[in-house]
């Protein structure tokens, strides 16, 4: 569990949660338990995704994948334990008001489980070796990556007592940002540098996965990336929180090289 949790990574989801709280004028300290829970769920999904039966990856975040170090059986258990522990952290937290805990846990499970991330992974699996339509590809990404990103923002907004209007715009912001994030990921898999990525580029192609550059051409994928980043920034403005770290995160996502 610790090996994969401490292997680095961008910590994008926890940062988004804490940045959302700060953008809304709340202290971010009460966000730490949920932020940790989200990162644990993200990490467990990578550990399981890297397994030989799934993507069969040897490198993650520049280090050997969990199962390459501890064996497949222990990697499966480490993932299971990270997932379970994430709910324990939130449920046991003393900094989250008791009337918000159940809602935060329900939304986290929804974002991570069969109606969210795992549902997206299952659809992704079923779509392997097929040419997907753009709609199918977006369905997969919206669930596989998007839901947990959106949850990071929503959880921060709930913890910081956002208004309903702010919550709506922040959801839209997160949704566009999630798609932008995935498009950038697909672009990096073609154009990226192994050292910066911490993994081998070209794995989408060798795994025969449908990607944005493949469906839209590289030009088209980059235009789509710009569109979603602009929409994201507009939603931030509508939520009244454009001059904040959240804007910096959107900028980071469009420019990142890993």
């Amino acid at each position: 569990m610790l090996y994969s949790l401490t292997a680095g990574g961008k910590r994008l989801r926890p940062v988004m949660l804490l940045a959302t709280m700060e953008a809304l004028g709340a202290g971010s300290e009460n966000g730490i338990p949920v932020a940790c829970a989200i990162e644990m769920i993200h990490t467990y999904s990578l550990v399981h995704d890297d397994l030989p039966a799934m993507d069969n990856d040897d490198l993650r975040r520049g280090k050997p994948t969990n199962h390459r170090v501890y064996g497949e059986a222990m990697a499966i258990l480490a993932g299971d334990a990270l997932l379970t522990y994430s709910f324990q952290i939130v449920a046991e937290s003393e900094s989250i008001p008791v009337d918000k805990k159940a809602e935060l846990i329900a939304l986290l499970a929804k974002a991570a489980g069969p109606e969210g991330m795992v549902g997206g992974q299952a659809a992704d699996l079923e779509g392997e070796d097929k040419t997907l339509s753009l709609e199918e590809l977006e369905y997969i990404h919206h669930h596989k990556t998007g839901k947990l990103l959106v949850y990071s923002i929503i959880a921060g907004a709930l913890l910081a007592n956002a208004t309903d209007t702010q919550l709506d715009h922040l959801k839209q912001f997160a949704s566009h940002l999630g798609l932008a994030f995935q498009i950038r990921d697909d672009i990096l898999d073609v154009e990226g540098d192994q050292e910066k990525l911490g993994k081998l580029p070209g794995s989408d192609q060798s795994n025969k996965k449908s990607t944005y550059p493949q469906l839209l051409t590289m030009e088209g994928a980059k235009r789509k990336l710009d569109f979603h980043v602009n929409e994201a920034v507009n939603e931030l403005k509508s939520a009244g929180v454009e001059d904040t770290q959240l804007k910096a995160i959107a900028d980071f996502i469009i420019k990142r090289d890993h």
Copy 2:
């Protein structure tokens, strides 16, 4: 998810939860969401346990194991989804009082996660191909099987507003019952009938697992089974709930042939 959930099984854990509520004079209907959550967690653990990287079992509950039908990748995801969804069910339930939800979820995660079931599975994995001491074997079973069984009883007791004294005795009851359950399992793996078990007997020996009959002889294992069943029944008496379905469950466990 549905394939493994509906493949049958004894439903021992949900039955224990509901029987605990009824033994304490409460209606059991409010226990259904937690009862389902526990069965989902139990089922996910079987789906992952059966994987080639773990026990590599082909049969479970008389049917081909999940990965034999849907492939390894989908079986991993089905397990992940069942685990996540179990927390969603409890968190979204409208029949559980809001002040009890966080406690029930925290205890469930503790029973199922690294401090409970998954911790026991990891210890079990590390103990493979070694001869374990009786203490090590009990540690494994106490975590791998015992914690979730104990949780079934505790959750029922909490939902039925048990007194602290009742809660203590019911915990002890569940703990003895959990060990009795595991000893019976080990005995069945030697003496059981394939048709009734729904799986091949002898898998412990071929997997080189330490068992009670192996450490204590078959005679000794059966004596230990009797001891724990008697202790369990005594605890029921101390909790003032001996003439109930819980007693029938203890009897079932000592006599079951599958």
